[in-house]
């Protein structure tokens, strides 16, 4: 057999059947369900008299809509409440395992899956959410699907898909101080663009990637979709196995050893073919952030806002100008020193315990600048409890941050956590689209450490000045 990539191996082992036009019926090991993209799928099952083929391969949580404030009170927004109650009725009717709002295990679906050992290496994992790519950090093939496909997976435990192309992004070397997985990923997106990975699955490789902890790898794979890729992957290694060991739904004892033996066979074979390879040096990556309304508008925090006049293409020039107008920035201005109104530390990109530790290290002994609202939204109830055990909540509260309950929150503003028009936000989330965090809101994507630095200085700041 020809040498195969990690993606090829996972793909091949899940093909039930290949249809004449190369479309595969691909078996799905894990289906993660949340309240926003599932109601129409459950309704479809109901209308056609179908059941879930494997409730025991499915897990449901509420995350997108949930308030991150006091949860003993009823949910105020009627439509959000309705979506949550609809999910609760559906999981009951269809027998789907579910972590309810008041469970400690509730959280953002892409934090909960790995944390509970539900997402495992070598698996195929889907969810009606584009950031399902996060689970690729486990060495699993994980991608977002639409609601029609959610219904298809519920009914058949498969999806129809053609194989993706293989792309490898190699980052060799050692990153400097203050440079995190978020900076690496933003630098990659800045380099290849938001359509750079379209049609491909990106495998991240190289010494700088291997040295990342699991949270860092999740940040990387999470934003593969921002590079247009169908999924992101990191080959499972000892770091992965140690992370999985002992998780509630992971295999135990002999079964775990058997699983590890299998997982070790997944790494790409010597000489495996990649359709595209991109190489970067870790030493070249500095703390970065976005200036515009597309995740590819990445500049070093020491840099200046680019000038549309330097862009040759008229369409692109107009688009850049529109971004500058929307963001309230001027061509050529230094990005550092731009005042912020809000700091959001959270989302499926950066809300794990490692992210909170990194933010707390900057916040410790400092105060949130006057006039800045700074929020910490842990990724799950488990992350929150762990942070409290470590005393991080006190560090944040003493510095003047809000310490909130787990959920998607201000990443997409479906719950009450929203920017108001014109507000500028230093955000650890994944998208800076117009209106993403609230109509008229201005988003700068950056790392948790950089977000904390913005909170305590009141402006976009090079975190290296604070470490």
């Amino acid at each position: 057999m020809a040498p195969r990539t990690l993606f090829d191996k996972i793909w091949d082992s899940h093909v039930v059947e290949t249809l004449p036009d190369r479309t595969a019926i691909l078996y799905i090991d894990r289906h993660l369900v949340h309240e926003v993209t599932s109601p129409q799928a459950f309704e479809g099952l109901r209308l056609s008299g179908r059941r879930l083929r494997h409730p025991d391969a499915t897990i449901a949580v509420v995350d997108h809509n949930v308030p991150t404030s006091d949860r003993t009170q009823p949910i105020e927004e009627a439509e959000s409440r309705n979506q949550i109650e609809t999910l609760e009725r559906n999981v009951k009717e269809f027998g789907v395992p579910y972590f309810p709002l008041l469970s400690a295990r509730q959280g953002i679906v892409h934090v909960v899956g790995p944390e509970q050992g539900i997402s495992l290496p070598g698996m195929t994992i889907v969810c009606g959410d584009s950031h399902t790519s996060t689970h690729g950090a486990m060495g699993a093939l994980a991608f977002g699907i639409g609601t029609s496909e959610v219904e298809h997976v519920m009914a058949t435990q498969t999806i129809l898909q053609k194989p993706a192309k293989n792309m490898k992004v190699v980052v060799e070397g050692q990153v400097g101080p203050g440079v995190t997985a978020k900076d690496i990923m933003l630098a990659i997106i800045g380099h290849i663009g938001t359509a750079g990975g379209t049609g491909h699955v990106i495998e991240f490789a190289g010494s700088a990637i291997r040295e990342l902890d699991m949270a860092g790898r999740m940040t990387l794979c999470n934003m593969s979709i921002e590079a247009g890729a169908r999924a992101g992957l990191v080959a499972p290694d000892e770091t992965t196995f140690e992370y999985v060991r002992g998780r509630p739904f992971a295999p135990k004892g002999e079964a775990f050893d058997e699983a590890v033996a299998y997982w070790k066979t997944l790494a790409a074979d010597e000489g495996a073919h990649y359709d595209r390879v991109v190489e970067m040096r870790a030493e070249d990556i500095t703390p970065v952030l976005t200036w515009g309304t597309s995740p590819e508008t990445v500049i070093p925090v020491t840099g200046t806002v680019p000038d549309p006049a330097a862009e040759a293409d008229a369409g692109r020039r107009a688009q850049m100008q529109r971004m500058l107008d929307y963001m309230g920035l001027k061509a050529g201005q230094k990005i550092a020193g731009t005042p912020v109104d809000v700091v959001f530390i959270g989302s499926c990109t950066n809300s794990r315990i490692e992210d909170l530790r990194s933010a707390a290290a900057i916040a410790a002994g400092r105060k949130v600048a006057a006039g800045v609202r700074a929020m910490i939204v842990p990724g799950s109830g488990i992350v929150k409890a762990q942070a409290e055990e470590e005393g991080l909540d006190k560090v944040f509260l003493e510095a003047g941050f809000e310490w909130r309950e787990a959920g998607c929150s201000m990443c997409l503003g479906m719950n009450p956590d929203r920017l108001t028009p014109g507000q500028r936000c230093a955000s650890t989330s994944n998208r800076n689209f117009e209106g993403r965090q609230g109509p008229g809101g201005r988003t700068h994507l950056l790392s948790p450490a950089m977000a904390a630095a913005a909170a305590v200085t009141g402006c976009l700041t090079d975190v290296r000045e604070l470490i």
Binding site: V16, E17, L19, P20, T23, I25, Y27, D29, T37, Q40, E43, R50, D56, A57, I59, N65, E77, E79, S80, N82, P97, G117, I118, L120, G128, D129, S130, F143, G144, I145, G146, T147, S148, H152, T156, Q157, L160, K162, T194, A195, T198, G199, G228, R230, F249, A250, P251, E258, A259, G315, Q319, L412, M414, R431, F433, E434, G435, R436, P439, G440
Partner: protein, 207 residues
């Protein structure tokens, strides 16, 4: 799902790259539990001003494009979130065909699942079709799916590619769950084989 065969309709030009799904339908409108009714919010931030009134500069607020059934854009249409609410909003507005030099994968997929035909054509061809579209109501484009051509107002034809299986589903208006379930036996055999080879794969059962 409605069948898609031959569509002769007004096309709206939207000459932008990277039109993301947040732009097509902002997250605050995703709280519905239905597939219908989202058309009024399609392109909300471009279509309405802060006071809620229509933005007269936006193409879909102008005649004859209020009745557009075809939308033409530049690269990477539908990037961002996986929300199927994006094609639902387009469909509810009346759009049955989207033409662009490239699409984001999930959005491209989601279009087919809802009877919307996404057509990939080179940038310069999209520009020409936008020029056609700017001629307004008398310059309809015809999308002939069985023959796989776009017929321009002057009668010239532009061929396009479409995946044969997806073409079949569109032509017949079929959902693909029924089709996959015809392979249920193979799915069961796969599951049995895998349970033997990898017995360690845990089931998710809550106490």
């Amino acid at each position: 799902m409605d069948k898609f065969t031959v569509l002769s309709a007004v096309a709206a030009p939207l000459p932008e790259e990277n039109i993301d799904t947040d732009k097509i339908i902002p997250a605050r409108f995703l709280k519905t539990t239905k597939r219908t009714g989202l058309g009024v919010h399609a392109f909300d931030s471009m279509r309405y001003r802060a006071d809620g009134s229509e933005n007269p500069d936006f193409v879909l607020n102008q005649e004859p494009y209020r009745k557009a059934e075809i939308l033409i854009t530049y690269d990477n249409l539908g990037c961002g979130s996986s929300r199927e609410h994006a094609p639902w909003a387009l469909l509810d507005f009346g759009i049955r065909c989207v033409i662009a030099p490239s699409f984001a994968d999930i959005f491209h997929n989601n279009c087919f699942k809802n009877g919307i035909l996404p057509i990939v054509l080179p940038h310069d061809v999209c520009e020409q079709l936008m020029e056609d579209a700017r001629m307004g109501g008398n310059a309809r484009l015809t999308i002939d799916l069985p023959r796989q051509v776009v017929v321009r107002p002057d009668g010239t034809e532009v061929p396009f590619n479409v995946d044969p299986l997806r073409k079949k589903l569109l032509l017949e208006g079929l959902d693909d769950i029924g089709q996959t379930l015809q392979h249920e036996k193979e799915i069961t055999i796969f599951e049995e084989r895998r349970a033997q080879a990898q017995p360690w794969i845990p089931r998710i059962v809550l106490d």
